[in-house]
Symmetry: C2
Subunit: 290 residues, 2 copies
Amino acid sequence: MKINQLPKYLKEVDGELWFEEFEVEKKNLKITYKVNKVLSYLKSPYQEIALIDTAAFGPCLALDGIMQSTSADGFIYNEMITHIPVLTHKKPEKVLVIGGGDCGAVRELSKYEELKTIDMVELDEIVTRECIKFLPNISGGANFDKRVNFKFGDGVQYVKNTDIKYDVIVVDSPDPEGPAKDLFGEEFYKNVKKTLNSDGVMVCQSESPMLHRDIIESTRKILKDNFKIVKTYVAFVPTYPGGLWSFTMASDVYDPCNIDVDRLPLNTRYLTKQIVKSCFDLPNFISDLK
Amino acid sequence: MKINQLPKYLKEVDGELWFEEFEVEKKNLKITYKVNKVLSYLKSPYQEIALIDTAAFGPCLALDGIMQSTSADGFIYNEMITHIPVLTHKKPEKVLVIGGGDCGAVRELSKYEELKTIDMVELDEIVTRECIKFLPNISGGANFDKRVNFKFGDGVQYVKNTDIKYDVIVVDSPDPEGPAKDLFGEEFYKNVKKTLNSDGVMVCQSESPMLHRDIIESTRKILKDNFKIVKTYVAFVPTYPGGLWSFTMASDVYDPCNIDVDRLPLNTRYLTKQIVKSCFDLPNFISDLK
């Protein structure tokens, strides 16, 4: 790939290649990664997809210049967004992942023998293909559990139109920019609720409590208007701006204060039985979230 | 201040000023902050001291181009490095802070009525003077509690030569580069132990478990060779590369599993009674630290 073909977020500085990421929206903070090699760079009908091998965090996926998954810390995000809702539900069998193109979420879900169906509705098939090829640390490569079903298409339309009911729905969305914007709106969450069994549990990533407090609060408001129990939890995700990341879960029946830690699979790299509980202990400066 | 006088880590890009920080040592990751204004920039006998007002995190202190304290998240670091050792000690009266030039640590310590003496040995008086002036969110400004005593000088020499004994010693050092390197060596920690009462507690910042695992492990080894109880705990510090930050405490008598959470002052912004305990629940990927 010639330098003059590189996207604007890949820059050559003093003979080194650097990936430059602006903090979403306010654009007053950048994280910049030294790049060993551009593994793949292409445009799908939806977005620019770059797989880059970085010196600090290994192979990474970036969409439209925003870092999504890194080999070094992708497991933290993927463990947090899957194990917490599955353990909160008392007897989950059918799980839906919306988004999750890097396949890290379905890989974590496959660790639960009790699950019978793991559906994944990802908009951009090319993202998934590229992550299977270049991010095996996250996707696990091409050998998926036979319970995993890929349904490539628009998650917003899927929950609007499907008649299937799920026990757990994981909304694994990118930042609320471009095609993902609808994944943060009320109509979408009403359809998520419709697509859950009456005792279902849903979870979404709700951005940084440091930098995007408005997004957490608007997400929590929508969920509180539609579910009886709404709880936000946090984890370290070093490669996301702000470091501390939030997830918000909702259910009409199950409260995570009764979470069943003993069902946690043994082979997690971030989560321990203690953290499954303590991730809900919010620091004072965000415990007053509306 | 004219642009041609700016240090190399302050760069003008398209008419905007940016502060560019390289991750220490490996230099394969950068965090870059949009700068509203350079509040002060000067060279002391020890280092370059820059106070800059950033768009994302407000006024910040940088030493030799490395971000040390920000108005937005400085409280997290300062609460973690002070409250945990003070609460671990059963009846602390005399506390020593080594480093801590931004005065955030002594400000937190002042919240404990039970403390009688709070000594601070900072190498560089000019850092403290500048933080009092430009970082009031962290330093609290010039109105210090009357128990606080500033003893400007070399902390390494201080613990070698003093006859005073303390109940708690807080080693609030910058990264192990330049003048701070000795603060990570065995001779220094032996002298810290000598300067503690027999039931004393010490704590140091032990860098990022993601990016500087070697530093945590070498620090833990030195402490384990010199103290009976050594425990590492973690917190989110968004503006440090890697997001997740570690602290390591040591004592011959007090174990933090018996920490007295009820003594936690009410006016903390990060710490809650739950987090005082759960900060010791390390994620699986670092729970195998040597």
